[in-house]
Symmetry: C2
Subunit: 117 residues, 2 copies
DNA sequence: TCAGATAGGGATAAATTTCTCCCTATTGCA
DNA sequence: TGCAATAGGGAGAAATTTATCCCTATCTGA
């Protein structure tokens, strides 16, 4: 694993939430798990643009940050299921607020993003 | 400037808001501008951990995405003020929700983040 | 018997973001 | 006269994140 060389600052709420949600796919992972897509392979199919590797890495971080738990079923072929922890569930409304704002301003956002590319 | 080689996907609201808010300091910039810290030098003092260069770059992007406007006063030494656009103002409640969640779970977050380092 | 599904890690490359250092310009102040 | 404040861009390095490719293992079904 890559080891950080710069220590993050954890001064305010925005710093703190940033540390746990900042990652290209983390918010989406939480959202899909919330919607009931729990198995790694399902998540990978839901987010085909992300490489399997990064999804695993980000899932590991979410687990370390206690937002999700990972349950391994001792079967073959292997089966793993992720679930939101109670703590993780508390962040879902915030993610919903993000998504809602994005949806409400969909056309304008698409427009300004494409213009700025 | 660096030119993107991977086209972002803009399928859902989460993708869209991600495009405009994803950046190490963008959320904080919007928040401080919202609080009335409008001049670049003020913002730099508010966010001393960010290099001046990156703040300028992220401010430029926020402006391109129409979340803020930049007003130049023709005086010497130069004076510039950023303000939220009407569009930018609509995202403030979402940022407030992020910060509030971070504040509410401050202790736990600090704990899990430090443990995972 | 061989391909595919399942889960995931290691090594390495590529992409992206952020940082550092340097340069431009003008005014006021010591 | 020389330095600080103001605003900000260029070049190149460093840090960080994400992608690619390859390997392990076992069972099911064609």
């Amino acid at each position: 694993m890559y080891e950080k060389k710069v220590i993050p600052n954890l001064n305010c709420g925005l710093d703190l939430i940033g540390e746990v949600l900042y990652g290209k796919w983390k918010i989406r992972l939480l959202w899909f798990i919330h919607q009931g897509h729990k198995r790694p392979s399902e998540l990978q199919r839901k987010i085909p643009d992300a490489s399997r590797r990064v999804l695993n890495m980000q899932l590991n971080e979410l687990e370390k940050h206690e937002l999700i738990t990972r349950k391994i079923y001792p079967v073959v072929p292997p089966k793993v299921e992720y679930s939101l922890t109670e703590f993780g569930k508390t962040v879902i409304p915030v993610i919903a607020a993000l998504g809602q704002w994005g949806d409400e301003h969909e056309d304008r956002l698409r427009d300004v993003i494409l213009k700025s590319l």
